[in-house]
């Protein structure tokens, strides 16, 4: 009876509720995270594990393929932020206005790509970006009189294909995030803005945008993360981890290549640690700029 009272008390109940998180946090987060760090200072072969100090990192900095992977991931992340935050936000504002009819239907269609497996969407986009005349991209360029193009064999067009795929997949999802943010804005604020004679553009910049800030920060955070850690899109678009001249190779692609395909776990973990540091710097900088740490609730 005593233990029951203890477990049922308002002091203890919250710890019972959060216990699964604490367990999962320790076993599937802290432990692997520490292991990732320690492994990055090791040379791991099937037979032996040797401490090698910072030699993995020293090697990484001179590894041209790795630096290319970093550049690809950074470029991809940058353009996904540029494309997948403002546009979905504007689409959401438009969708939220009373001038659009059939909202449910459009939302369902826009969400559909996110429901589609990357295996399938990668295959579909590979066919559309094919170098043959039948690919949709080449049909467009031919119609414009530009001839055909080897989309998946050149650096910039390979990146374009990745970005088109990213926009296709995430525009609807991000729009739904912004829509949910918009719903939480008190309509009285817009009425007040109306009374003050605000134009729709002024209302967007002085009411909508500031009040969407929490949603924007959330979308920004997950986009930085998703952009830097992108791998599967590239893997599926090129039907494997090998793209011509590594034009589609990302940081995680390189981690996968080294760790899984070449079984060099130590070096691969060093790649992961660099990715982590880059992701953390960008996300912390972003959160500090946005003042998230100032207001604790």
């Amino acid at each position: 009876m005593k233990t029951k009272n203890f477990l049922y008390s308002q002091k203890v109940a919250p710890y019972v509720f959060v216990l699964p998180f604490i367990l999962s946090f320790v076993v599937f987060w802290i432990y692997p995270l520490i292991t990732a760090f320690t492994m990055s200072f090791q040379k791991i072969t099937p037979t032996a594990t040797d401490w090698v100090g910072i030699s993995n990192y020293a090697k990484l900095l001179k590894d041209k393929v790795f630096l290319l992977a970093v550049r690809n991931s950074a470029t991809y992340m940058f353009f996904t932020l540029v494309l997948l935050i403002p546009f979905p936000m504007i689409f959401a504002v438009l969708m939220d206005s009373h001038i659009v009819k059939g909202k449910g239907f459009w939302k369902a269609i826009l969400y559909m790509p996110a429901l589609t497996s990357v295996v399938i969407s990668g295959m579909l986009f590979r066919l559309m970006f094919t170098e043959y005349k039948t690919g949709q991209m080449n049909l467009i360029t031919q119609a414009l009189g530009l001839g055909t193009y080897k989309w998946l064999k050149n650096g910039w067009s390979g990146m374009l294909a990745l970005l088109v795929l990213a926009c296709w997949r995430w525009t609807g999802v991000n729009m739904l995030y912004f829509l949910s943010g918009l719903k939480s804005i008190d309509t009285a604020l817009y009425e007040a803005a109306d009374i003050d004679g605000a134009t729709p553009v002024q209302k967007f910049f002085y009411v909508t945008l500031p009040l969407l800030k929490p949603t924007t920060i959330y979308v920004l955070t997950i986009s930085v993360y998703a952009g830097l850690a992108m791998f599967l899109e590239s893997y599926m678009l090129w039907a494997g981890n090998a793209s011509p001249n590594n034009i589609g190779l990302t940081i995680v692609g390189y981690l996968y290549r080294r760790g899984i395909e070449k079984n060099d776990m130590g070096y691969a973990c060093a790649v992961g640690v660099v990715l982590l540091i880059v992701a953390l710097i960008i996300n912390f900088a972003q959160l500090i700029v946005n003042g998230t740490f100032k207001k604790e609730d």
Partner: protein, 292 residues
């Protein structure tokens, strides 16, 4: 009041109608572009697999070249068909189990983090955010070794267990729950309800929309998960659908018949789920604001 009346009057003016056509037209165009790849893929699934290689995703409605033969083959009970439905079944099982477990675990964690003031609350919530800010891919290799050490390699438990405490799901539940009035708890306590009864019988029913929207998101993530199952599952008889489909994509294999029809049929369950739950997703997202 006068203002809103003015709005309703405006809705029949020619300028409103023009704006409405433009606004709706914009989404017609956008959605046509978005729907194109999947619709083209669907059309292609009614043509022989060799056509897919030769002609890509050409939009061709010529009925003489179209047939159900890819689907007939897929459902035909042959070797490929057996393999495909084995993967399908595996995916269904993993998805159902992980969605149910993830939803309940994350709900209770979020509940603890929202409804109480306790010493570790802010620290724990910071940790939830922290886990979101470390890409899974960094933990992937150590976790892979961990799963081997725990003898969970090549098991469904190994696939499911690492993702049960999903930070984004906890985050969403917390946002949703913090919109509910805390007076509900004190009222229930006065009526003599204990903490767990309140969390299950009083607050959980109110969080149903959040369950629906998180459910579909988790189901989607699980149904389409590739990277982690690819590492954990070794035997072809344990493969999930995306991984199985991926194995058909060999440069030598000529399995495009199965691949394209199987891909389209693979989208189906998640799309049906989405259509059924769409209302709840939108409810879940719009119900953030509480009625006093």
């Amino acid at each position: 009041m006068a203002k809103s009346k003015q709005y309703s009057d405006l809705s029949h003016t020619p300028s409103f109608i023009i704006r409405s056509i433009l606004g709706t037209g914009f989404f017609v165009v956008l959605c046509t572009i978005i729907a194109f790849p999947v619709l083209a893929g669907l059309l292609a699934s009614f043509r022989p697999g060799t056509e897919l290689i030769r002609r890509g995703l050409a939009i061709d409605l010529n009925p003489t070249t179209m047939s159900l033969s890819n689907y007939a083959y897929l459902f035909g009970g042959n070797e490929d068909s057996k393999k495909y439905f084995m993967w399908y079944k595996n995916s269904l099982l993993i998805t159902v189990v992980s969605v149910v477990l993830t939803l309940f675990i994350c709900y209770f964690v979020a509940y603890g983090l929202t409804m109480y003031d306790f010493r570790l609350k802010n620290l724990l919530f910071t940790l939830v955010i922290a886990t979101m800010m470390v890409p899974f891919e960094i933990l992937m290799l150590p976790m892979y070794k961990e799963v081997i050490a725990l003898h969970l390699i090549d098991t469904y438990a190994g696939v499911i267990i690492t993702g049960l405490c999903s930070a984004s799901t906890i985050f969403f539940f917390r946002q949703y729950l913090s919109g509910l009035p805390k007076e509900l708890l004190s009222a229930a306590r006065i009526d003599g309800a204990n903490e767990y009864y309140i969390s299950v019988r009083i607050i959980l029913p109110l969080a149903k929309p959040a369950f629906a929207s998180m459910g579909i998101l988790c189901a989607m993530g699980s149904w389409n998960a590739i990277l982690w199952p690819l590492l954990v599952l070794k035997g072809a008889e344990k493969f999930t659908l995306p991984i199985g489909l991926n194995t058909l994509l060999t440069p030598y294999g000529n399995n495009y018949d199965v691949l394209i029809a199987g891909s389209m049929f693979g989208i189906l369950p998640i799309f049906i789920l989405f259509l059924l739950f769409q209302r709840y997703i939108i409810d879940g997202m719009t119900a953030g604001a509480v009625k006093g």
